[in-house]
Structure formats: structure tokens, C-alpha cells
């Protein structure tokens, strides 16, 4: 029993394919231990978002199995605690909120439905949650369209927290945000993880972000996992050629041209 609890999310030989063309992910296996912080890195088209959706049970795989705390997602009902325990933060803060509901209403609804609290208590809890993620005052009663990307993303996080999750899966949470705001959201995720001992799965195309928040990294390419391991090791000693390219790009960004010895530019594949 306790062994099953120690693996939060589990994908076994998962394949997801659409009507035609190559599968989005093929035969991928990945286990996320409870309490871990894991990053999934890859370019667009690598399948990382699809894998995320399989891991959170939003998408059923075409082949293979996805489990949460030992139970198959297909067996988990919408009112079960496993469903609540795994929540997601999305890439596009503009689409992740109902445009007709204020932040307060959005989070309060989550509290009401998921925690079963009456309306008034839910509103109070919502206000507290929003304040906890850095949104206070008049802002919480405005419609999403008048909020900035960073503010919307905080609402999304507050809503996820309303479910009292044990696992948070963040799919490119900062890609759509201004540079000066990205750090704020990353800090928030870091802090929440510590405070609530969350399991964190962070998906990004930017290894710098992943490197900063996670301990293990999984590198994906063309629907499969090419390499995985502790973040420090992968960054200093990448095994696979694709990983090496990723790591090189990461290091190159951090050095001005005068200091760097240029490597010959690769031809476009």
C-alpha cells in the first residue's frame, strides 16, 4: 500500500495517436515519485504537453496505462480524491480562465465544488487563497480581461490550490508572460512547493526554467524520451546528442560573444 503512495503519477508504455500521422507520444514510460520536482523539456512537437495531459488524467492514452497514486485514471471518478489531488497550471493564462467570472468567483467555485463548502465560506477561502498568491484588493473582483498575464496566472494557481492538491503539473507556465514577471511566477511556484510539500511537474521548452525549479529532468524529442536524470548531471554531462544541443544552447545564452569561442553553426535540419 505505502509503495503505491510513493509514486504519484505513472505512465507505462503510453502511446497517444490521432487519426493520421505519427503518434504524439509513443511507448513512453515515466514515473513521478511523490514529493519530487521533475522537469520535462522538449521543443514544440516533442509530445511533452500530450504527456502532461496523460499524466494528469485529462487524456486517455491510445495504448498503455496511466496511473495516479497506484490507481488507473480510467477508474478514478470525478469526485474521488485522486482527481482533486492532481491539478494543472496552463500555458495560456488568457484561455485558462472563464472570461465571464471574476477571480474571486472562479476560485470560490472551485472551493465550493471541490471542498463542498457553502457559498459564503467559499468566498472567504477564495479571498485568502488569492491573497496568498499575491492578488489582493480590488483586483480580485475584476474581469479577467482587465488583468495582466501575470495576474491571470496567479488566479490559475490559486484555483488549482483551492482543490488542496498534492501534485501540481505546470505546462509552460511562464512562456506567455513578460520577462520581468516570469520570475515572480517561478518564485511563487517554488514557494508553494515548499510550503505545501507538493509534487511538481514542470514542462518547458526552456531548460533554464526547469533547471531552476526541479531536481530531475526528462528530455523529450519526437514523441519519446531521449534522456533523463538529475538536473545537474544532465547539464554538465549530457549523454545524447539532442540533449547536448539543448545544453549548449543554454550555456551559450549565458555568455557574451567576445568571451565565447564560436562553434560552427549547424545547417538547418
Amino acid at each position: 500500500m505505502s509503495e503505491q503512495r510513493s509514486i504519484a503519477l505513472d505512465a507505462r508504455e503510453v502511446t497517444v495517436s490521432y487519426a493520421r500521422g505519427a503518434p504524439a507520444i509513443a511507448g513512453v514510460s515515466l514515473a513521478i515519485p511523490a514529493g519530487a520536482a521533475v522537469g520535462i523539456v522538449g521543443e514544440s512537437g516533442s509530445g511533452k504537453s500530450t504527456l502532461a495531459r496523460v499524466l494528469v488524467g485529462e487524456r486517455a492514452p491510445t495504448a498503455g496505462e496511466a496511473r495516479v497514486f497506484g490507481r488507473r485514471w480510467s477508474e478514478v471518478g470525478r469526485r474521488d480524491r485522486e482527481r482533486r489531488a492532481v491539478q494543472m497550471v496552463f500555458q495560456d493564462p488568457y484561455g485558462a480562465l472563464n472570461p465571464r467570472m471574476t477571480p474571486l468567483e472562479t476560485v470560490a467555485e472551485a472551493v465550493e465544488v471541490v471542498r463542498g463548502q457553502p457559498r459564503r465560506a467559499a468566498l472567504a477561502a477564495a479571498e485568502e487563497l488569492l491573497d496568498h498568491v499575491g492578488l489582493g484588493g480590488a483586483v480580485v473582483t475584476r474581469r479577467p480581461r482587465s488583468l495582466s498575464g501575470g495576474q491571470r496566472q496567479r488566479v490559475v494557481i490559486a484555483r488549482a490550490l483551492a482543490c488542496e492538491p498534492e501534485v501540481l503539473v505546470a505546462d509552460e507556465p511562464t512562456s506567455a508572460l513578460d520577462v520581468s514577471v516570469q520570475a515572480q511566477i517561478l518564485n511563487l511556484l517554488l514557494r508553494l512547493r515548499r510550503e505545501r510539500e507538493l509534487t511538481l511537474v514542470l514542462i518547458s521548452h526552456d531548460i533554464a526554467v526547469v533547471e531552476h525549479l526541479t531536481d530531475e529532468v526528462v528530455v523529450m524529442l519526437n514523441g519519446g524520451v531521449v534522456e533523463s536524470g538529475p538536473v545537474e548531471r544532465v547539464l554538465t554531462d549530457p549523454h545524447e546528442p539532442y540533449t547536448r544541443r539543448l545544453v549548449d544552447a543554454f550555456h551559450m545564452r549565458a555568455t557574451p560573444p567576445a568571451v565565447r569561442t564560436d562553434s560552427p553553426i549547424e545547417e538547418q535540419r
Binding site: M88, F90, L97, N98, R100, V113
Partner: protein, 274 residues
Amino acid sequence: MAVGIAIVAAIALLSVFAPAIAGDGPDRLIGAPLQAPSGEHWFGTDALGRDVFVRTFVAARVDYLVAIFGTLFSLIVGTTLGTLVAMARRPVWGKLLMRVTDGLIAVPFNLLILVIVLGFGTERDVLGLPKGLPGVLVAVIVVGWSIYARLARAEAMTLRQREFVGAARLMGFSKRRIVGRHILPTVILTTGTYAVADTVMVIGLLAGLPFLGAGVLPPTPEWGTMMFEGRGVLESAWWVVVFPAAALVATAIAISLIADGLLDRLGAGEEAGR
């Protein structure tokens, strides 16, 4: 938009109070036939000596009734059906709906309405409504719902893909809640706005029916019927046709203004993106 509402409200009010104001009933033969507008009969009298003023505004009851109820039912039926189909798990429902509505839309509107009206018969007495009216109402609803269903389905399918709906599923919200609180309100805003503009079409259709041999039976006043009956004396007694026509045009303009105003509000209300 306020102007539009004012005009419609005025006509509606008058439709109720016109007989009281003018002191006559729409069916009463109170004057000499075909008298020009005068102090006694502000809009003149028609071929049978009935007061045109009273008839014009009482006719509004019929036209507005059909427009509002016809559109309303089409809206409700169509939107609900379209939304439910969009949320269905199996794509077969969507295809079925599309084929059925394809068929309905492909046939010329007027023809379909004509067939239904005539098929329904004009002699039936339903709920004490003016003769011929129920047939028209049924026809409008049967033909009208299909557009709303398609609109609703398209909008709902787009919304379904949005991440806030995905989030709702992740949080374990029931399908009822997702559809009822997150999808339907936005969908009905779109179809509702379309419906407002659609009422004009419906009135136009209704007014055109007498010219095709169908429509509300006399003596019930209705703008189309009044224009139809008065077409013979258009040159000599223009008021018999012009006033109902003017009322119809005024209504059409008013509704367009309302629809415009709603669209503006809607445009500002929806998220503007970055």
C-alpha cells in the same frame, strides 16, 4: 440602442392602449370607408371603414407576438440542442445534427413556411389565438431552430477546447455544471444576439405571407394583411398601406439598433486578448 428600445417600447405600449386612446376597436366599422387622415381618424380609415390607427397598432400585437415567441422558441430549442450535441462524446451526434440542419436550411425558407402553414390549416382554433397564427408560429420554430443549433454547436465546440473548461474537468466539475455555468452562458450570448436581429426577419416573413396566400386570417389586423388588402387602393388611399408599412419599417430599424447595441456591448464584454 436606447433609441431602438424606445421605439419598440412605444409601439408595444400603443399596441395595448391604442383602442383606448382612439376610442375604437380594430374591428369596428366606425367611419366612412377610405377617409384620409383627419382629426377624428389620425391614420384615416380603410376600405371597410375601420380606423387605421387602431388597426396599425393592434396589429403590432400579432407581429410582435410571432416575432418574439417564434424567435424565442427557436433560440431555446436550437441553442440547447446545439450545445448538447457539441458536448457529446461521440461525433455521430454532431454529424447527425449537421445533416438535418443542412436539409432544413437548404430548402427555401418561405416555401417551407408556406407548406407548414397550409398543412397546419387555418381553421384550427388553438388557445383562442387569432386564426392562422398558430400555424405561422409552428412554421417559424420548425424552420428557425436549425440556424441557432449550428451557431450554438460551433461556439460550444470552440469553448470546449478552451483551457478553463479543461481545468473544470480536472477539478471534477460535473458535466451539468460545466455546460450550465461555463458553456451555455457564453453560447446563449452569441445566439441571443443573433436572435434579436432575427426577429426582424420573422416579422418580414409573416408580413409577406398574405401575398403568398397564407398568413393570419382576417379580420385580425396584421401589417402584412393590411398592406395586402390595401394594395388595390394604394394610389387613392395611400394611408391604408403606408402606416402599417411605416410601423413595420420602424420596428425593423429599432430592432437593428438594439441588435447593434448588443453587439457592441458583447464585443467589449468578451475578452479582448492581449
